[in-house]
């Protein structure tokens, strides 16, 4: 060990494609660890007796053990260890904000650089993918049936866990393709759709049926779902309704919500227009309003589609930007400009198309209830600049298609479903989790909530089945 001590505090960086090359296509930017990288990084792990990394993971992956397996070159055991807790490791290895989760609390974070846990997770998942994913094992059939509404990370996780426990699970998805934000929102260059597809196939191989083109609340009601013989329902409908600024000129042509822009590009493949039928408009001077992950994705997508200049316009300062640091860094490397402490007050049009934007400067005041310093407009600081396309990426409201049509389902003022810590809603037999409960959050937090709900649903179903058979289940 001593001779390698010098490397102990140095973290293996992940290889990335150079900016000038990657902005010309939609192929993945980050290339992942080679086996050599992975072995070197895993060797840095202290295999702590009381690993602090594990409580940092919202789904409690046994991080120490899976890294231990990678150290031994036993990648199969590594991925199996991960999959005990996480059905979507290739996705999480790419999009989780590890820097504020497991890696933040890794002991090495205090002494140098934390272990690149996300990169190692991705390595294990990609290794398995290259070898062909083995047949999943299912539980003894319980003859209990569960319906899952929505096929985003929350729905897929609940479905996978419940199928593994032997329940018969059907997912109902409104769109023509499953995956939720993973499919329609996060771009190919950050999360290849082939990986999403494969991980969905894995969930299906556990016995989960996915029915696309079904909107619960429209095509079938929640009552009808129960009438179809389902014993429990999990709702994971996400936060998919775009917020707008509601300022003059926002409905001009050339002004998109990030959702529409990204959906056209990712779900409908508008970047292949000609081969695919869905069109997309691209301006030369593009402004993206907001600075979260969604804004970074939209900005980088616009650049790849041929915009000359893309500027992220944000009302606070750089320090408050909600996007992952790495994505801000990637965006900047690619030439995205940042205009902070600025807010648009109206869009200017010509013949129905956006041609400019009037903004006002902001300064930062006292911290607000989110702990971030509150932006305050600087009076008289209005200025205009030219843009011919705008993407509004200032957040989403909860998707109302289901909640609006269900009686007796308690929701908050903003329309989020209210649940207890296990995801139970106000309707018996109905659970909910993910963005529809928390508001916009992360892939992994949606999965964590789904896992807790799945565990509770399982107990409920076994109790129900026991009651039907006339026995009392042993208390766990």
């Amino acid at each position: 060990m001593a001779e390698r001590g010098g490397d102990r505090f140095k973290r293996k960086p992940m290889r990335k494609r150079p900016p000038h090359e990657r902005i010309r296509d939609f192929h993945e930017v980050a290339l992942g660890f080679t086996e050599e990288d992975a072995l070197a990084e895993a060797a840095r792990c202290l295999q702590c007796p009381n690993p602090t990394c594990i409580p940092g993971c919202p789904v409690e992956i046994d991080i120490k053990s899976f890294i231990g397996f990678i150290r031994e070159g036993d990648y199969e055991s590594a991925i199996r260890k991960i999959k005990e807790k996480n059905n979507l490791p290739g996705i999480c290895g790419r999009v989780c904000p590890q820097e504020v989760q497991c890696e933040e609390v890794c002991v090495l974070n205090r002494k140098g650089a934390p272990i690149a846990i996300g990169a190692l997770e991705r390595f294990a998942a990609d290794y398995e993918r290259s070898k062909g994913v083995p047949e999943a094992r299912r539980g003894e059939p319980t003859e209990m049936r569960v319906a899952v509404v929505g096929s985003g990370p929350a729905g897929l996780t609940a479905a996978g866990d419940l199928a593994r426990l032997g329940h018969e699970v059907t997912i109902f998805e409104a769109l023509h393709s499953p995956g939720g934000v993973l499919t329609y929102g996060i771009p190919e260059f950050r999360l290849p759709k082939s990986i999403v597809r494969d991980e969905i196939e894995y969930v299906k191989s556990l016995g989960v049926k996915i029915m696309t083109n079904v909107i619960v609340g429209r095509t079938i009601t929640l009552d009808e779902v129960f009438a179809m013989g389902f014993h429990a329902v999990f709702i994971g409908t996400g936060a998919g309704s775009p917020k707008f600024l509601y300022i003059p000129g926002e409905n001009l042509n050339g002004v998109y919500s990030a959702n529409e822009f990204l959906t056209r590009c990712n779900l409908m493949k508008a970047y292949l227009f000609g081969e695919y039928d869905t069109p997309i408009y691209i301006g030369r001077q593009v402004a993206v309003i907001g600075a979260g992950n969604v804004a970074m994705d939209a900005a980088r997508t616009a650049l790849r589609l041929g915009a000359e200049e893309v500027t992220v316009v944000y009302r606070r300062s750089e320090a408050e930007m909600p996007a992952r640091l790495e994505e801000i860094h990637n965006a900047r490397e690619e030439g995205i400009k940042f205009q902070t402490l600025t807010v648009p007050v109206r869009f200017l049009g010509e013949d129905g198309w956006v041609k400019g934007m009037e903004c006002i400067r902001m300064r930062l005041g006292e911290p607000d209830d989110t702990g971030r310093r509150k932006p305050i407009p600087v009076e008289g600081s209005n200025f205009q600049f030219e843009v011919d396309m705008v993407i509004v990426a200032i957040g989403q409201n909860p998707n109302p298609t289901l909640t609006r049509t269900v009686k007796g389902l308690n929701t908050s003022e903003e329309g989020l479903i209210i649940t207890d810590e296990n995801g139970r809603t106000s309707i018996p037999g109905v659970w909910a989790g993910g963005d529809i409960v928390t508001g916009e959050a992360t892939v992994i937090s949606a999965m964590g909530a789904a896992k807790r709900a799945a565990r509770d649903i399982h107990n409920y179903l076994m109790e129900k089945k026991g009651a039907a058979l006339g026995w009392i289940p042993p208390t766990p």
Partner: protein, 279 residues
């Protein structure tokens, strides 16, 4: 996959199709629509549910071939499949007893007006319908409309059938006449709906229109379908498609409908050039 059970050409560019979709058929109400995607590479487009067949398992769609997607759809044959179909979407028409209702359909809008006229008639209204097309050959559903209305006015732009002129010319006369009108319901090209709104406004006659902006998901997720109604932004797919005509910013709607005009034209021309053989 959704099977096409039968297909019929109603006019040169207008096709009627019966598509198997039991779940949607069981739910669809007048005023609602579906979104479909013809194939893997297709665009998602909205079409109105015109009726549900007697079996209760299939829906009728009537569409005009205006671009690549509708042309592609029109070339499918009975026994073939539409890749994706979702619905019913939008809020149903508020069907109740208003008294005397004038239902107006222009062009392929007649197909969309038909289920509404029928439902309003069943609810006990006296229904006057005005339907129009550019010429006799393009007029659709005349007999069906006659069956569900108390009186029917037909007009064509060139005078080849019924009266020569626009549907709005007839509406103007009705408004000036002695029979009070409690509701005007119009569906057709945006410009027609705009003229209807402008005509009824001075008379203070309550007027509803069914808007047809560009849509993508149809579930309130993208905001492509937004229009300004009464100074507020509304999503047509979930808040509509029907709105009070006197509140709608039609100019904005028409501008937004033209957002992809050049690309749509390109796509259609390319398709007709390359796809002509397998039509």
């Amino acid at each position: 996959m959704f099977k096409i059970l039968s297909k019929e050409r109603l006019a040169e560019n207008v096709v009627s199709m019966l598509v198997e979709a039991p779940l949607i058929a069981g739910k669809a109400k007048p005023g609602q629509f579906v979104i479909l995607r013809v194939d893997e590479k297709g665009e998602r487009i909205p079409l109105t549910v015109v009726s549900v067949d007697e079996s209760g398992k299939a829906i009728r769609l009537i569409f005009q071939e205006v671009g690549k997607t509708t042309t592609k759809l029109g070339r499918l044959r009975p026994g073939e499949y539409i890749s994706d179909l979702v619905g019913p979407l939008g809020r149903p028409t508020e069907v109740k007893s208003y008294g005397h209702v004038v239902v107006i359909g222009g062009g392929v809008g007649v197909a969309e007006a038909y289920p509404v006229a029928k439902a309003l008639k069943s609810a006990g209204n006296r229904v006057t319908a005005i339907i129009g097309a550019r010429s006799k050959d393009l007029l659709i559903l005349e007999d069906e409309m006659r069956e569900v209305c108390d009186s029917l006015h037909v007009c064509t732009d060139d005078g080849s059938k019924g009266r020569k002129g626009f549907v709005t010319d007839v509406l103007k006369e009705l408004l000036e006449g002695n029979t009070p009108i409690n509701l005007v319901y119009a569906i057709g090209p945006a410009v027609m709906m705009k003229v209807v709104a402008d005509l009824t406004r001075p008379y203070g006659v309550h007027t509803m229109v069914s808007l047809n902006p560009i849509m993508v998901d149809g579930t309130g997720m993208c905001g492509a379908c937004r229009v300004t109604v009464g100074g507020e932004t509304r999503f047509v797919c979930v808040d509509g498609p029907e709105f009070d005509a006197h509140m709608v910013d039609f100019q904005e709607l028409m501008t937004r409908q033209r957002m992809y005009l050049d690309k749509e034209k390109m796509a259609l021309e390319k398709y007709l050039r390359e796809g002509a053989a397998d039509g």
